[in-house]
Structure formats: structure tokens, C-alpha cells
Symmetry: C2
């Protein structure tokens, strides 16, 4: 809204309606008038006045946001006629509630609350119990029969009013801790001391009455003004305070962060107070239209007789169930509302049904029963856990309450995650203090005994022991131990360190970068703060939050909920248009991902077969190849390696029959595969029949200063064409043999680390030659094969037009692309990530969620330029971001055909991709 428009409205507001009444099954406004009435005001109007609702809310009225704008425009003056409008509305409220504002016998008390277009929780002021004066107080006491309650309400009014209206709204500046509220609270403490009690509730009516007098004296003394003993003064003071709180410091900075325009203004809601503690036919409660814990379609709630909302929250009394469905072990002996006040329960049950039907989602409702009269205080969309969210979404589609698209938007990706991993029982977890905190690298919870090396992990696991592998950091030599462990905990490394990547690939619980943890390998101890654990001690990890706990914590396993989950994911699939592939390196991973719904492999890393999974033979042969110092020796070693690679690829292609499989040619710098320990080197030297000094020299030659930008990817294929040749032959022979078995296989060769189209030209010559040789060998006319490249070097994105000419698909390798675009080495980022996050320089870890502002530009540029040359170019993403919902949304908007992620992220990606279709 431009200032011009605001100005116009102000002028117009003289003749316009400034006050909107609601209550008694009527309302001047409705739910669509949020801009004018604020969120709260519009919702109250909707509940009270909508013909299908007619819900009994405490009557009240809303002073519009336009009045707020005019108030600021005219330096604190209200529009003409506002007083009359307010008075008129108040009359209506009195009629509905059967009470009178300022009346000595049957006084109406009201609350004065803010209510902006968009919720700004806790940012603006509220005054409750307005209307309590020396004139009205006795009337209330008589009506409620509870003097203590009334003086407590009075005390609260005085505190709030003096703070909010008399001090803050008046613009009085105070020193830290010297505000009127703090001074009054000091009096309260003094009183408690005097009486020798601990809790406010232990003070008697007399004590509170006395306190109220002292409060008023203190106010006069500190602020130089009397607390107003007039209901009208209180009302207008409250309204003014709410308006002025719109421009409080906290509110302004909140709006800056949330991008809420300053000129929107807030509305003021004046509403009759109702009390659940007005006697034995009064009560207060909270209910959900469905069970928020498991999603069952049952009305569910708790309540307390003769109590206020805050008593429910305080937890000093055990709330009772509203009905049988709400019974649990610890409340089943309490009186159910259904039995206590059957008529009111029936009314409430009718209301909840109407509300859910009207708002088409599970509602969280607050109600108060004042002397047998039911009032709805609030209804809003109810919070729910993951399993409940999924179940409700599926049920509501079946009930035809919501559309599939709506169902998709009802489940957060993080909620889905809860269904995919066992988790620590949250009720227990919240009572425990974590020993240490690291980065949440692999989701879910895990329990196990500490071991400090890979060998022990394997051995203990063989003996049936659950272990957690604790290391400073991991490397490919630890992979067997990592696989054997229930979870992995490291002191160093970030979200994309070796440990994190491997664990996520397996869906395994993992905490990395836990810098508080000090490991002593020789003593086999792990120190976290004051606690020192030794080998064999039990710990529990929360890999979703990155927490480490001592001992065994109980676990909840929701992963069995597969029927509902699958139904939900089918709904997602119906909405989704982007394909989901997986990153898988073994036939088992491929099968698992397929079970999770993967529609192909987006990244098969040829090198992963060498990471010590299963036989050591391929790794040994690879090392032999790497440390060859002549083309002949290297070719001989490659020949030995060939059958292993071919078998591996064949197995995966077979597991993915009918679906595309993107196979990336050898990517990492070769020295990654060279053993690090002298002992292992010696062994290798012996087996290779080479002297140690010679071998050490060759190893040294492979060392690089910045291996991420070194001799890797296609650069290896160009300097050692025989390596490319061996891999391509393995892929194509595997394909040919499967075709001969009448299996439909769709291999895609992906060339990594490409920076210029000429690198692809070079490799395509080899691929073409090998292809024709394989066709001949197997006597075939054609082989299905696509050739594409990873776009992971910024230059590749910049020159994507040229590269597209030479390729049939692009797969964005956003890990490397992020590394190079940002100049952040993911292995070293630990050194500065924490301060970068603390100082708000980064909004988050760019390796977790794509940096759409920077790296994203290279992606859209790459896609646009590639498709300009080749409109049907197939484009996807592989790497960590492919499983991150925000990044998936970006990928969808950018026009990708698919995302690829680790098998365990596939369900989440299916959801995120469906949501992207709706949000984009």
C-alpha cells in the first residue's frame, strides 16, 4: 500500500465505519477482512457471524487498522466520531453478555488486545480486566463469590495498565530493571516474604487487596499520576496503548525482519472477559478436532473445572479428559466433561465439527465455561506431530474434506522425516541434558556402546553388540566400521564431511563436528565437559538435532506406519511433476531406493565400490593402477580391475531395470585411494613388488595443495584415457549383456568436473570408439546410451550453451558448485561456519540448503543457456541439495526434470517436489 493510498483512507475514514461489532451470532465483519480488522478481529467476526458457524464467542468489537493509520497520521488524534462508534458497539456487547460496562451490580469487564494483519506474537501490548474499579469491584465479588479471584484480577489490571499505558505508551524512559512493573513485582515479593509463602496463590484475598493499595501508592509515587479509577479512562487508555505499541522498538524491528510494512497498522480488539474460575459450573479447556498425537479422527481435549487458562498451562492440577477418546493412564480417573456438563459437551462437540468443516483442517480450540455458559475463545489450525500430520492428510482426502493439493501442503518435510527414522522418545528427551552438541548430520536416534576404531566396531557388531563409532573424523578406510555401527559421532567436519555424507547415504544416525568432545585414542576415552566415557559405555544420539546423551534413552519407532505413509506419498506423486531419482552405489541401495519410490539413479559413483565395502580386492587393484608409473603397467592393472567394475555396474543396472541410471566416471583425486598409514603402504609396496622409497615418492607426487581443484574428474580421463576406456567398456558390456537377457536398461554416462566443452569432445571420442567395439563384440545394432555431464564448475554453467551442444543431459553437482562459487572448502568450513552463522553473515550452511541468491544464479544461467541450444536437454541435480526441500523448490522453479538424493531422502523429496508444484 503506497503512502498516497493511506492518506486517502485517512481522509475518508471520517465518514467510514471505524468500529466492527461481533457476538451473539452476529458480526459486522467477516474472515476475509484481515487487512481492515487484523487477523484476530476478522477471525472473531467469522466465528461469530458466519451463517454456518454462529459460534458463541465473548462479544466485543474491533477498532480498525485504518484508525491506527489515522492515529499516526494525525499525531495521536482519533478520527471524528470514534467515541460514539465505540460507545454504540459497547452497548451491543452489554446486550449480548447481559452485563454493563462500569455498572456497580453486574459489571462487564473487557480485554483490550492488538491484532495486526499478520500475527506478531508478543510484539504488542494487551490489557486485561479493564473495567475493574472501586465502583465495580464489589459487584464482581458478589457475582463470582470469590473475593480472592477478584483482587488477583485487580492486581493484574493495575500491573499491566501502569506498565503498558501509564509508562510505555506515555513514552517514559526507564533504566534497565527499573520499570514500574519490576517495582510492583518487588512489592509482591515483599508481601510473600512477609507472609512466609512461596507462591502467589498462597496469598489471601486480604493480602491481595492490601497489595493493590500499595501498588496504587507506588504508581503515584513513581509515575506522578493516579491509577485511573474510571472504566472509560481505562478503556481509552488501553486502546491508545495498543496503537502506540505498534511503533514500539521491538515491533518495528520485528517488522523489519519479517518484511511487514510499517504503514499497515494494527487493529484493537475490545472483548468481554469471561472467567472459567467463576465457580463450580465454570471451567476452561483446550481441545483438538482430531488427535494431534496420532491423527485419529476423534474429538480430543482436556479441561479444568473452576480454573483459568493459565492454570491448565501451569500444570499444578491434572486436567481431566473431555471424553473417552481423551483418556490416558494418568487422567482416566478424572471426571469427563461429557459426564460433568453433558449439554455443554454436546454443544462443544457440535461446534468443533462445524469449525473443522468450515476451516477444513484440524482445529486447536480454547474454550471457557462461565457459570454453565460456553464460550469459544479461539480457534486455530492445530499443531500435530509427523505421523498425525500424515494420517490427517490422507484421511481428509478420503473424507473429501480437502483436495490432494491441500493434503500435500499439510505435511512439512521435517514431519515426514519423523516417520522414516526411529527417534528418541521426546517426552523423555526433554527431561535430559545433552552431554554435547554437534551438527545433525544423519537424522533419527540411535543407541550404542562407544568404540573408537573401525576394527572394534566390526568386531563388536559381529558379537551382536550395538556400537556407536566415535572418531575425530572418518575417511574411506573407516567405511566398514561405519557400516557396522548404529551411528557415527565425530569431533570434526561439517555437514558434508566424509562421515556425514556416508551416513546420510545409508540413512544412518550421525552427529559430526562435535567440538566439545575430546577423544584420547590411546586411553580410549571420550571427554565431554566434566563427563569422561570409556570404550563400551552406552550413549544415545539424536542425529536430527545433533545431540549426545549419556546412557540409554527410550526410542520410538514410527517407521512401521507404512500404509498411511505410502498412501500419503501416492497423493504427493499425483500432484508432483518433477521426477525423483536417487544417489546409489550398490544394487542393495538401488533396490532400497526403488522401494522408497525412486524413479532412477541420478548418481552412481564408480569409485564407491573401492571404499572398502565387501572385498578388499578391488581397492588393492585400484591402488596398483594408481601407483603404476607407466601406461603399460596402468593398463595391466586396469584390465585386472575391469571385471569388478563391470559386475558392480551390471548389478545396479539390473536392480534399476526400466529406469535410467546415471553412472559418473571416476571423480576423486587419485591420492584419496592411497593408504595413509606407513604399515599399509609397506604391505602395498610388497604386493606391488616396489621398494618403499620408490612407492613413497609416487605417493608424494600424487599429493596436492588443493585437491578439490586438482587432478580429478574428467582431468583424469584426459591425462589417462585408459581409465575412461576401462569404465566405459564395463558400462557398455554390462548393458549389452543385460540387453541380451531381454532386460530394458538405460545407462547414462556422466562426465564429471567439466569446465569446457573441449573436455567432453575429448572423452566422447573414447566413448564412441568403445561403443562401436562393444556393439561388434556382442553383435548388436544399437545400445541405449546417453552422454551427459555434471555442471559443478562455475565455468561450465557460464559456458553451458557450448557444453549443451556436446551432451544430452546436465546434472548439477551443487556440492562442488557451491564450493567453488562461494570459495568455501566444505572440509575446512568448520573453521569459520559457526561465527558466520552467529553473525548472520550466512543464513544457513550453503551445503545443506542451496544458496539460491548466488549459486542459484549459476544454475538458472546453466539451464537457460543449455536449453536455448537444446530445448529438450534433460536436467537434474545430484548431491546433497537434491534432498533438501527448499532446494527442491528452487530446482523445480528453475525447470529441472528431476532431483536425485540419497535413498532415505526419496520420500521427503517426493513430498517436497509435490509442494514445489503448488508453491511455484
Amino acid at each position: 500500500m503506497s503512502k498516497q493510498t493511506v492518506g486517502k483512507k485517512v481522509t475518508a475514514s471520517k465518514s467510514k465505519k471505524n468500529v466492527y461489532f461481533f457476538g451473539g451470532e452476529k458480526a459486522d465483519g467477516n474472515g476475509s477482512m484481515k487487512n481492515l480488522l487484523g487477523g484476530k478481529g476478522a477471525n472473531l467476526a467469522e466465528m461469530a457471524g458466519h451463517p454456518k458457524l454462529k459460534i458463541p464467542v465473548p462479544a466485543g468489537f474491533t477498532v480498525t487498522t485504518d484508525v491506527c493509520t489515522a492515529y499516526y497520521k494525525n499525531k495521536g488524534k482519533y478520527p471524528q466520531g470514534l467515541t460514539e462508534e465505540v460507545n454504540k458497539a459497547m452497548k451491543k456487547v452489554e446486550n449480548v453478555m447481559g452485563k454493563k460496562f462500569g455498572d456497580a451490580q453486574n459489571p462487564l469487564l473487557v480485554s483490550v488486545r492488538s491484532g495486526a494483519r499478520q500475527s506478531m506474537p508478543g510484539m504488542m501490548e494487551t490489557v486485561l480486566n479493564v473495567g475493574l474499579t472501586t465502583k465495580t469491584i464489589d459487584g464482581i465479588i458478589k457475582k463470582s463469590g470469590n473475593e480472592r479471584f477478584v483482587y488477583d484480577a485487580y492486581r493484574r489490571l493495575i500491573t499491566m495498565y501502569s506498565d503498558v499505558v501509564m509508562e510505555k505508551a506515555a513514552g517514559i524512559e526507564v533504566r534497565e530493571g527499573k520499570g514500574i512493573r519490576q517495582q510492583l513485582e518487588k512489592l509482591l515479593e515483599q508481601k510473600k516474604e512477609e507472609r512466609g509463602v512461596k507462591l502467589d496463590t498462597d496469598l489471601s484475598a486480604e493480602d491481595l487487596k492490601d497489595l493493590c493499595d500499595n501498588y496504587k501508592k507506588k504508581i503515584k509515587q513513581v509515575l506522578g499520576k493516579e491509577f485511573p479509577d474510571d472504566h472509560e479512562k481505562q478503556l481509552w487508555g488501553g486502546i491508545g496503548a495498543v496503537f502506540s505499541s505498534w511503533n514500539g522498538k521491538r515491533a518495528i524491528s520485528y517488522r523489519k525482519i519479517e518484511n511487514i510494512p510499517q504503514e499497515w497498522g494494527t487493529a484493537v480488539n475490545v472483548q468481554a472477559m469471561v472467567f472459567g474460575n467463576m465457580g463450580d459450573k465454570s471451567a476452561t479447556g483446550v481441545a483438538f478436532t482430531r488427535n494431534p498425537g496420532n491423527g485419529d479422527n476423534n474429538f480430543y481435549g482436556e479441561y479444568l473445572i473452576n480454573a483459568q487458562g493459565e492454570d491448565v498451562v501451569a500444570g499444578t492440577r491434572t486436567p481431566a479428559p473431555i471424553n473417552k477418546n481423551s483418556q490416558s493412564d494418568h487422567n482416566k480417573h478424572e471426571l469427563m466433561l461429557e459426564d460433568f456438563l453433558p449439554r455443554v459437551y454436546k454443544q462443544l462437540n457440535g461446534i468443533q465439527k462445524k469449525l473443522e468443516k468450515h476451516y477444513r483442517d484440524m482445529q486447536d480450540i480454547e474454550f471457557t465455561i462461565e457459570d454453565g455458559e460456553l464460550y469459544l475463545l479461539q480457534t486455530r489450525v492445530g499443531k500435530r506431530n509427523g505421523p498425525a500430520a500424515v494420517k490427517m492428510a490422507v484421511d481428509m482426502v478420503n473424507e473429501k474434506l480437502i483436495t490432494k493439493k491441500e493434503a500435500v501442503m499439510r505435511v512439512k518435510p521435517s514431519q515426514l522425516d519423523e516417520l522414516l527414522h526411529p527417534i528418541i522418545d521426546p517426552d523423555v528427551e526433554k527431561t535430559k541434558k545433552a552431554l554435547a552438541k554437534g551438527l545433525p548430520a544423519g537424522p533419527g536416534g540411535a543407541i550404542g556402546r562407544i568404540v573408537f576404531d573401525s576394527e572394534s566396531s566390526v568386531e563388536w557388531a559381529k558379537n551382536g553388540k550395538d556400537v556407536i563409532l566415535v572418531r575425530e573424523e572418518t575417511n574411506p578406510e573407516d567405511v566398514e566400521g561405519m557400516r557396522a555401527a548404529q551411528a557415527i559421532l565425530t569431533t570434526r567436519g561439517g555437514m558434508t564431511s566424509h562421515a556425514a555424507l556416508v551416513a546420510r547415504g545409508w540413512g544412518k544416525c550421525c552427529v559430526v563436528g562435535c567440538s566439545e568432545l575430546e577423544i584420547d585414542y590411546t586411553k580410549k576415552t571420550a571427554k565431554m565437559g566434566d563427563v569422561t566415557l570409556k570404550e563400551g559405555d552406552w550413549i544415545t544420539l539424536n542425529g536430527t538435532k545433533g545431540l549426545v546423551f549419556k546412557d540409554v534413552l527410550p526410542m520410538i519407532d514410527a517407521t512401521k506406519e507404512n500404509k498411511t505413509l505410502n498412501a500419503f506419498l501416492k497423493i504427493c506423486d499425483a500432484v508432483r511433476t518433477m521426477k525423483i531419482r536417487t544417489n546409489a552405489d550398490t544394487p542393495e541401495d538401488a533396490q532400497r531406493a526403488r522401494d522408497f519410490g525412486a524413479e532412477g539413479i541420478g548418481l552412481f559413483r564408480t569409485e564407491h565400490m573401492f571404499y572398502g565395502v565387501g572385498s578388499e580386492e578391488p581397492l588393492f587393484k585400484l591402488r596398483k593402477m594408481i601407483l603404476s608409473d607407466s601406461v603399460e603397467d596402468r593398463k595391466a592393472a586396469l584390465d585386472e580391475l575391469f571385471p569388478f567394475v563391470k559386475t558392480d555396474i551390471k548389478g545396479t543396472l539390473k536392480a534399476m531395470v526400466g529406469l535410467p541410471v546415471t553412472i559418473r566416471l571416476l571423480d576423486p583425486p587419485l591420492h584419496e585411494f592411497v593408504p595413509h598409514q606407513t604399515e599399509q603402504l609397506k604391505e602395498l609396496a610388497k604386493s606391488l613388488n616396489v621398494g618403499m622409497p620408490n612407492l613413497e615418492k609416487r605417493v608424494a607426487l600424487l599429493k596436492e595443495s588443493n585437491p578439490m581443484m586438482g587432478h580429478r574428474g574428467v582431468r583424469l580421463g584426459i591425462t589417462y584415457p585408459e581409465i575412461t576406456e576401462m569404465q566405459v567398456r564395463a558400462i557398455l558390456e554390462a548393458t549389452a549383456e543385460l540387453i541380451k537377457e531381454n532386460k530394458k536398461v538405460l545407462p547414462e554416462i556422466m562426465i564429471p568436473v567439466v569446465g569446457t566443452d573441449k573436455e567432453i569432445d575429448n572423452q566422447k571420442v573414447i566413448i564412441t570408439r568403445v561403443k562401436s567395439e562393444v556393439l561388434k563384440k556382442y553383435n548388436l545394432k544399437k545400445l541405449p546410451l546417453m552422454i551427459g555431464t555434471m555442471i559443478e564448475i562455475p565455468r561450465a554453467a557460464l559456458t553451458a550453451g557450448k557444453i549443451a551442444k556436446e551432451t544430452e543431459f546436465f546434472s548439477f553437482g551443487t556440492n562442488d558448485l557451491t564450493q567453488m562459487s562461494y570459495g568455501f572448502s566444505r572440509d575446512d568450513m568448520g573453521g569459520f561456519l559457526a561465527p558466520y552463522l552467529d553473525k548472520d553473515i550466512l543464513a544457513g550452511d550453503p551445503f545443506q540448503s542451496l544458496d539460491t541468491e548466488g549459486v542459484g544464479q549459476l544454475i538458472t544461467m546453466g539451464i537457460d543457456r543449455g536449453r536455448k541450444v537444446k530445448p529438450k536437454l534433460k536436467i537434474g541435480i545430484c548431491g546433497e541439495h537434491g534432498g533438501d526441500p527448499n532446494s527442491i523448490l528452487f530446482c523445480y522453479k528453475a525447470g529441472m526434470d528431476y532431483v536425485s538424493c540419497s535413498p532415505f531422502r526419496v520420500p521427503i523429496a517426493r513430498l517436497a517436489a509435490a509442494q514445489a508444484t503448488i508453491m511455484a
Copy 2:
């Protein structure tokens, strides 16, 4: 020219002129008709026919390129009437030359040569001596009185004709080495063996005559056709062969590389043969209108009496000087042309003057005197060395022969380089074989004794010995030894390795990445191929070409030519619009760069003061700071460091009074400064009063996997704000003190390794605070200070709009930008650069000359986006590319305000920037 146009021309060519005559001071065409007559034909027409030239060239005619196009269009048929036109033109040639084509008594011989629009040297065919038949041969023998010469010419005609016309143009495919030319040459060899002679020239007339007969028989036998004994047949065969050579394989692939359109076609030049070996009044020679060795404005040349052009080239006879200016020690006793044929010399001298004036550049002319008659065969722009190019450019401006802009374009940047460094005497160098070849990392030549470590280098140099430091690679600890050495030679590293960067910064000769060199540090030997050198042995380096020679080679030092050089650079400055700054780290470097014409410092690296130059104290204090493990310790260490940094900066600001100085905040990862040797570490531990295990642990913590993308640049300033604070205070206090001394200083603080504007926000808070503190301390109202950033992270270029909001200048750090855009670690690129260049994947080292296609996009993007937000944003480049002419051209086109390069590159940058103004 579109195909459409070509088609029209073909149709039109029936009535159009197809043949253009030249000779006898007349010509149908002129120099502007290159498209129609080809380069050679147009030039011959210009020389012969231009009213101010009228040069005696052997008469001839040109068959146009349109005929060639028509020839291909019509499948080898010539346009109608071509024969008549050729015959008519031949008549004119006969008239001018006083000979008759095919005449038995006084026959005219002609050459048939190609001549395309753009020169394609060696790609097309030539036939000489056309017109020699059994009918004409005796006439020529009689005229020349030299039977041997005539049969030799005949032998050549037969060889060329059979090869070019009868075999190639006829489309006969032959196996490698089995062509008719090779078979004829075998006969020649046999004849020499038979005669027991070694050289062709030792064969007699009779031998040659016999050989011609054998040739003809062989041709008949191999090709099944007779060698044509008819002058007309020979002529048309030659013309056809030239046209068909336009579509030879070599010519086609040459045109592809050079982007020459296939449809241009070639012209054919038929020109009378003249012979400098036609007797004692005949001669042949080559001359230059000015001295190409030093640029003096003197006619300069050599000639041989009774000889052909090839005799001059062969070097079997010593050519004589044409005049006194052309005399040298080894030819001063020969007869000068000026004395031998004074009339002809006078004519030649007149012609050279006309030619230089007409073409407005020094000409390289070929002339032949046939029986006292002077003919100019060719004139073209003469090649010259660097000093000559500079002198001629300056002189010609003074003579008002050329404009300043033309002068600027007359000197190649590489030629200027010759004036800036001593070089190995090229005459001697070409006779020597290099021991090994590396990368040319620091230009010029150097002589010295081998030493293998920095300490020896310093010590030997102290004793007055010239040394060359030979290392596997260098690091900051070697800097003192590098400075003491005449030159540096390393086995590893690329053009931007430590050794290369440091050496270029000093203008020191340096060869790096010399992989053939094997060093044995313990034995103190260096092995290159079969040669093993030991400490103290002499070697000579050519740093411009990357060559290593044994022993001492003589040097030439042209660096003294300062008067002419300065005059030339002043001309450049008059043309140039882009500023030239320098990368300098010390007051001495700054002064030197200023002397070379630098207009400010574009990059002052604060960290370079720690690279062991001068006192070790700052480095020690820096190490103390780095290895502190608390903020307090670090601050204390920074306090100790402060006076050193301030003094250093103050000195440089002072040396650059009146000019801007860009000071980059600490950039490299901290562990770069930590000593590598245990001994040094122990020393440090002792001085720091820390136990070795503790120190080693801290050092290990600083290690990074990919330090280039690690904890460096602004990331240090954010994690350790106290480091930024110390540096900023040093800069501003130095500034304040100089201002108090009434010196105009213009510091610019540059924040490195920025990836997001928020990093700048963060650092600016510190800078602003320190500035106000310094203002207060020195009681000043203002301090001149610009704040800017390096754009060296791709993301910074992509988000340059946001970054520009926070900054006053950008300096492109293209070293890092290239590393990250291409994903090439410059320290590791050695592993694949050579195959990448060999396989044409890279056109050159992208760290040497900017990759304009990829990295260049980020630069233009950064500039465009930055200037969109801040139109007056100052933009420059620092880093290696700032001294590379091609990159400078790119920077100019991209709109940069300045380039910054090492002091020794400043003159070259001044030239390149001037050329950019003209070329852009």
C-alpha cells in the same frame, strides 16, 4: 560475402574483367582490390601502377578470385572468354619484358602462384619456370650463356609440375612417401651417388640434362602421361593446379583454424621470371628501408652477384653490403652495390624511399638485377627486434610519417619486454641446445652458479658470487635466498607458483616446473638428461622461453635505451585512457614502479612484509599472533605487531604521495606463516614458552584440506576482528601522520575473498569505529579513505549489485577468480596442464592470459551489475593478468578504470593499454 552474391558474380563474370595486367609502370588493378586480386596481386598492381610508385616489377597478370569461385561453381570450367583475356594479358607482358612466351629465340618464362585475400603461407601450390620446353630451352641457354643453370631450372619445373599439376591437381592418391616428387628425388640421389658427389650444385649440366630425361620417363611410367612439352599446356596446367590447391586438405583445415571463408577463393598470379644468376651483371638481394637491428633510419641490405634468392638463404656465399651503412666486420671487404652498379643502386635507393613513404612503415624488399635491369620482386612490412621497433615508432612520429596511434600499434608488447631485461645474445643462443625446458616464469636471461638452498644463496651472494637458486619448489622461507640470487629455477609449480609470483614481482629471471630436472639435495647435484651438475657449476637461464643452458652464454643488455623507450611510452600515454597501477609491497618497489610510470598502487599485500624480507622480527611476532589460543594473547601479539605494520604502510604511502594506494587486508590462510621444519617449530615453541606437543596441536588445527577455499581473507577478519582492527588502525594512523606532515596520501582499504555483502557490512563496522578513534587521536576532522573489495570469488561477481552498495571500488582478483571459476588449483595444475595444452583443450594457461570466454563473463557481469547500482564505481584488476596484453585489452573493453601489475610489467601495460584504446 554471402553465397547469393557469389552466385551473381559468377553469372556476371562472363562480361566482367577476369584478368588484370600489371607491369611497365602500369596496372589494371590497385592495392585496394585485395578481395578480387588477392593480397599478392593487389600489391603487385599497387607497386607497378600507383602514380607515386611506378616500381619496376616483373610484368604479369592476375586471374581473379571470382574466376576461382566460378571454377568451383561450374565444376572446373572457366568462364567464357578467359583464354582470350589471358592471351591478351600475356601479350602485354611480352611487350614490357621484351620476350615472347614460347619463343625459340627469346623465350619468356613465367611463374604461376596463388594469392588469396589473406595470406595462407605454404598452403597452396606454385609452379616456376613455366615455358621451358624443348623448343625454348636452347634460346635461354644462348641468352644466359649458362647451360647448367637452364637444365637445373628445367629439372625444377619438371619436378614441381609433375607433383603439383599431374599428380595432386589430378586427384591421384598416393601412399605416404610414394609420391612422384619423392620418386624423382630418388633419381636425383642415385645420380649424385653415381657421380660420387654430395651437393646438387656439384652435378654438371650434362648430369642435369640426363636427369631431366630420366624424370620424364619416370613420370610417363608412374603417372601414365607425358610431361607436357608445350608452353600453353604448362601455363593452363599451372593455373588449374593453383585453383584446385585452394581445396586441398591442408588449405581447408588451415582456413578452418584461421576462420577464412571457403567461398573466398584464390587468385592466380602469372608473372615473368627474372633471374639474378643470368651473368655478371645480374644479382639478387634483400634490403630494409631502415636498420631492423637497431632502428636507425638508414637504408640497409645485402646482395649476391650472379645468384638466385635461394643462394642468399643457403649461406654458402657471404652476401655483400649494399652500402656503407650495411657493412659489418665479416662483409666489409665485399664489393658494395653502390660501387658495383651505381645507377642501379641509385634507382633502388629511390624506390625504397618511395616505398617507405607510401606504405608508411619500414619495408623489407626483395630485388633482382637481371643483366643490369632492376626488378622489385616483393615489398612487405619488415620484421624488427624490440629496440628497433621502439626507435622506428618514435622516429616516424617525429618525422610526421605516422600518427601516435599508429606508432603505438607498431610495437608488440613482447618486443617491449626485450628492452626491459638483459637477454641471452640470440645469435649465440640459437647455436646451443638447452639442457632442459620449463615454464617461462620470469623474463630475461641470467647467468649464475648453482646453489640448492636459500642460506647458500645468501652467503655466496655476500661473497660477490652470482648464483642461481635451484629448488624443487620455493616457499616463503626461501624469499631471502631468492632475492640474493640472479635467477630461480624450480622443478615443480606453474606460472603462478610461489617462485613465479615472487620472481615476476621483482622482475627477476625465473624458470619453473622444469620437470626434467632431478635434484638430489643431499649430494647437491642437479641432473638434466645425461648431464649432472653440482653446486657451484655455471648455468644460463632464458626466463622468457623457459630454457636452461650449461655454462655461461653471452648477454645483451638493451635496458639502457631509456631515452627512446621513455619517448615511446610517452606516446603510449598520450593515446591511453586506462590508468596503470602497480602491485607493490615495499617503499622500494613502489618507487621503482613510479619510475616505470605507475599511477598508483593497485595491490599492496599487507602479508608480504612477513615473507622474510629484512628483519625476522615481524614474522616471529606474526607467528606468535597466529598461534595464540586466546583473544587476549592474540591481542597482545597484535599490539606488538602494530608498529611494524604501521611503519611499513607509512613508507609505501609516502613513496606514492599524490597517488592512490590500495592496501589489501590480510589474505592468506594463517598456516602459511607457520614454520614447516621441526627445528624451527622447536625454536618457536621455546620463544613462545609453549610445549612442543601443544604447539604442534595448534599447528595441526590450522592445517586445511583445500586452503585456497579455506579460512582466509575476510573470513579471518570476521572470526578474528582484532586482526582487521590492528591493520585498519595502522593504515589510518600512518595516513593521519602523513597528513600532519602536509602530504597528500590516498589510501584505499581492500577487503579480500568476499563472497557476500554481509561480510563487508561486518568489516565496515570495525573500519568506521577505528576511523573515528584515529580522527580523535590526531585531532583531525577527516581522513581520505576509500573502502572497496576484491572480486575474486565467483559469488561476489554474481552478487556484485549488492556488494557495490557497500563499497567504493572493485578490484578483480583474477588469480583466485580463475581458480574458482575453472576449478583449477594453480599449485596443482602442473599435473594436467601439459596434456591439456597438447590436446588443445586449453588454448593457453588461463593464469597467464585471462579466460575471456568463461572467467571474463564473471568480470563483465560484475562490472555491469556493480555500475548499475553505482555508476561511478571505480573498477580495476590486480593480479597476474593485469600485466598481460590480451587481458589488458579485455579489461579495457569491459570498462575498467585501471589495471595493476608488477612494477616490471608497468611499461608493457602502458603500451597494451594504449593499444587497447585503438583496438577496442
